[in-house]
C-alpha cells in the first residue's frame, strides 16, 4: 500500500495571533510553528497502515523555507520520503491554487491512497483535500474518524449531525482526517536526531510544469483584503456570594437582565 500524505505547517494552536498594524497580514514574529493537527492524524493513520500492510509513506508539504522543520517531524514519525514544494511563485496562493500545486506534485507518483487533514487550523477552509480528489479524478471521503482497507476498497466512518455515516469506495481515493481517528505518536529522540540528516527533496513551479499565472495571487480565486481582531468580549459580573444566593442572582440576571431564560 503506497500512501501519500499532504501536510501543512501552521501556528501552534496555543499561539496568540494578531493582525499587523495595517491589517494586511498577521504578525508572524515569534510564532511557534507545528504540523497542522489534522495532518498529524492523517500521517499517523498512514504510518499505521504501512506498518500493517507494508508499502511506503510519502509526505508532501507545500510551504515556505521554514516548513522544512515540519517535514523533519514527519520523517522522525516514520515517513519514508518527503517532498517540499517551495518556490516564491507559490506565495500568496489561496486554497484553490494550493490544491493545483499539490495535484501537479502527486501526478506521476504511485499511490493507492492520499491522506490530508480535514482542514488546516490557520485558514480553516477545509477545501484542499476534496479539491485534490476532484483535480485527480478520484473519489474522496472527508472528515474520517475510522478507516479500514480491504480488497482494493476503503471503508471509512464520518460523523454527521444525524449519526455516523459508513462509506465505502474503491482505491485510489483521497481521505481527510478528523480528530478522533487516532492518537498520533511522539517521535523518539533518536529518530528526531536521524531526521536532521535526511535529505529533503524540493520542487518548484518549473519542476512541476506549472505556469506562473496558475500560482500565487494570480492563480487564486479568493483574496483576503483585511485581517482584523474579533470584537473584544469583556469580563462580566462575578457573583460573590454563598452558593444559594449566587445561583439565585444568576437565574434572576439571566431572566431579567439578559433575557435568555
Amino acid at each position: 500500500m503506497d500512501i501519500i500524505v499532504c501536510i501543512k505547517q501552521v501556528p501552534d494552536t496555543a499561539a496568540e495571533i494578531v493582525p499587523n498594524a495595517d491589517g494586511t497580514a498577521i504578525q508572524t514574529e515569534g510564532i511557534p510553528w507545528v504540523m497542522n493537527p489534522y495532518d498529524e492524524y492523517a500521517l499517523e493513520e498512514a504510518l499505521r497502515a504501512k506498518e500493517r500492510l507494508g508499502g511506503g509513506v510519502t509526505v508532501i508539504c507545500l510551504g515556505p523555507q521554514n516548513a522544512v522543520g515540519t517535514l523533519r517531524t514527519a520523517v522522525a514519525m516514520g515517513a519514508d520520503n518527503v517532498l517540499h514544494l517551495v518556490d516564491p511563485a507559490f506565495e500568496g496562493s489561496d486554497a484553490h491554487a494550493a490544491a493545483r500545486v499539490l495535484a501537479a506534485a502527486v501526478k506521476g507518483l504511485k499511490y493507492d491512497l492520499i491522506w490530508c487533514g480535514k482542514m488546516a487550523v490557520d485558514d480553516a477552509c477545509g477545501y484542499v483535500g476534496t479539491a485534490l480528489a476532484e483535480l485527480l479524478g478520484v473519489p474522496h471521503i472527508a472528515a474520517v474518524v475510522k478507516v479500514e482497507t480491504a480488497e482494493g476498497k476503503v471503508t471509512a466512518h464520518r460523523e454527521t449531525e444525524s449519526g455516523t455515516a459508513v462509506l465505502r469506495c474503491p482505491l485510489p481515493a483521497v481521505l481527510t482526517a478528523e480528530k478522533g481517528l487516532n492518537e498520533p505518536r511522539y517521535p523518539k529522540a533518536i529518530d528526531i536526531m536521524k531526521a536532521k540528516r535526511k535529505e529533503i527533496q524540493a520542487k518548484g513551479a518549473g519542476d512541476l510544469g506549472l505556469a506562473p499565472d496558475s500560482l500565487g495571487a494570480a492563480g487564486s480565486l479568493t483574496r483576503v483584503t483585511k485581517f482584523e481582531r474579533p470584537p473584544e468580549r469583556g469580563g462580566g459580573t462575578v457573583i460573590e456570594a454563598p452558593v444559594a444566593e449566587a445561583v439565585q442572582r444568576l437565574v434572576a440576571g439571566l431572566r431579567e437582565q439578559a433575557k435568555v431564560l
Binding site: V18, D122, K179, G235, L261
Partner: protein
C-alpha cells in the same frame, strides 16, 4: 450583481435542517440589496418545505428528488444552468463537503464558515470569516462569480417570515452522479445511541471541562441541560481524557458555536476553547479557580465547586419554574 442567490437546503430523513431557513433569510437580505432573486435547491421532494421556504424569502425552489445520490453533480448542474452570483450552503458535515467539491468543479472561490456577507453596489461581496479558529476575522473577496459560501448554524439570524409569500416549485430530474461520486456507497448510517442535540445547532449549551474530574460528572450537567433544553458540550481536555466523544467538543479542534446561552462548568478557558464559544450571546462560567481565564470572557461568573453550584442551580431553576412548561 446580477444572477440569483442560490441556497442549498439540507434535508435529512425528510425534515429540513433549521440552518436552511437561516441561509434563505440571509440570501433574501442579500438579494434585496442587489436586486436579484433567491433560488433554493432541494435535493429531494420539495412540496412539504415549499411554504416555509417561500415565507422566509425563496422565489423559486428547484426540486430534485433522488439527487441525494449525487449531490455535487446535482448542484453543479443547477449552478451551470442558473449562473448564480452566490451559492450559500450550510457548514454542516454534508454541506461543508458539498461546498468544497462544488467549488472545485466550478472553479469557484470558496469562503467557508462566513459570519457576515456585505454586497456593495460595485458588485463586490465582502465575506467575513474567522481564521486561526476565530483569533482573527478575515475579509475575503472572490474575484468572479459564482462565489461558494458556507455558514454555520445560528450565525445568520432568521428573517421575518411572510406567510403570504409563495415560491414557485420547479422540478428538475437529478443528473447522473459523476463517476467519482457514483463509486462512493453509503454502507450504513449509525444513529447515536442517545438522541442528543448537536452543539452546533443548539440554542443553549451546557459544557464541561477538566474541572469535572471524570465522565460521571457529566451526569449532573445532563440534568441541567435537560432543564434548559440544552446540548452538552465539552472542552478539549474532557474529550482528550475520553470523558466525552469528540462530536461534543467546542473549540479550535472541535466545533465553533453561537448559542443564546453558554454555561461553562469546570472549564478554565484555554484560548483554543474561548475562540470556539466567544460568539455566544450570553456566557456563564462556573469554576473553582477565581483566576481562570474563562472569567475574563463571561457575562456571569460564579467562583465555586461545580459539584455544589450546578445542583444548586438546577434546584433554583426548578424553583423558578424553568423547564416545567
Amino acid at each position: 450583481m446580477a444572477g440569483d442567490v442560490l441556497v442549498v437546503a439540507e434535508i435529512t430523513g425528510g425534515s429540513m435542517r433549521p440552518v436552511s431557513l437561516e441561509l434563505v433569510s440571509e440570501g433574501r437580505r442579500l438579494a434585496n440589496t442587489v436586486g436579484s432573486a433567491v433560488a433554493v435547491a432541494v435535493l429531494d421532494e420539495a412540496q412539504a418545505h415549499a411554504q416555509v421556504l417561500g415565507a422566509y424569502g425563496a422565489d423559486r425552489i428547484y426540486a430534485m428528488p433522488g439527487a441525494a445520490r449525487g449531490p455535487v453533480s446535482a448542484v453543479e448542474a443547477l449552478a451551470r444552468e442558473l449562473e448564480p452570483q452566490v451559492i450559500l450552503l450550510p457548514a454542516t458535515a454534508a454541506g461543508s463537503d458539498l461546498a468544497a467539491a462544488l467549488a472545485a468543479r466550478l472553479g469557484a472561490g470558496l469562503a467557508a464558515n462566513c459570519i457576515s456577507l456585505t454586497a456593495d453596489p460595485s458588485g463586490a461581496l465582502m465575506q467575513k470569516r474567522p481564521m486561526y479558529a476565530g483569533k482573527v476575522i478575515a475579509t475575503v473577496e472572490t474575484a468572479t462569480g459564482p462565489r461558494v459560501v458556507t455558514a454555520r448554524p445560528r450565525v445568520f439570524g432568521l428573517g421575518q417570515p411572510d406567510a403570504s409569500r409563495a415560491a414557485e416549485i420547479i422540478s428538475r430530474p437529478a443528473p447522473e452522479p459523476s463517476p467519482t461520486e457514483a463509486v462512493v456507497e453509503l454502507v450504513e448510517l449509525v444513529k447515536a445511541e442517545r438522541e442528543e442535540l448537536d452543539v452546533a445547532e443548539a440554542e443553549v449549551i451546557v459544557s464541561g471541562g477538566r474541572g469535572l474530574g471524570g465522565p460521571e460528572a457529566f451526569g449532573i450537567l445532563r440534568e441541567l441541560a435537560g432543564l434548559l433544553n440544552a446540548a452538552v458540550g465539552a472542552s478539549r481536555a474532557a474529550v482528550d481524557a475520553g470523558w466525552m466523544p469528540h462530536s461534543h467538543q467546542v473549540g479550535q479542534t472541535g466545533k465553533t458555536v453561537s448559542p443564546r446561552l453558554y454555561v461553562a462548568c469546570g472549564i478554565s478557558g484555554a484560548i483554543q476553547h474561548l475562540v470556539g464559544m466567544s460568539s455566544s450571546q450570553v456566557i456563564v462560567a462556573i469554576n473553582k479557580d477565581p483566576e481562570a481565564p474563562i472569567f475574563t470572557k463571561c457575562d456571569y461568573g460564579i467562583v465555586g465547586d461545580v459539584f455544589e453550584v450546578v445542583p444548586a442551580l438546577v434546584e433554583e431553576l426548578k424553583r423558578a419554574g424553568v423547564g416545567s412548561d
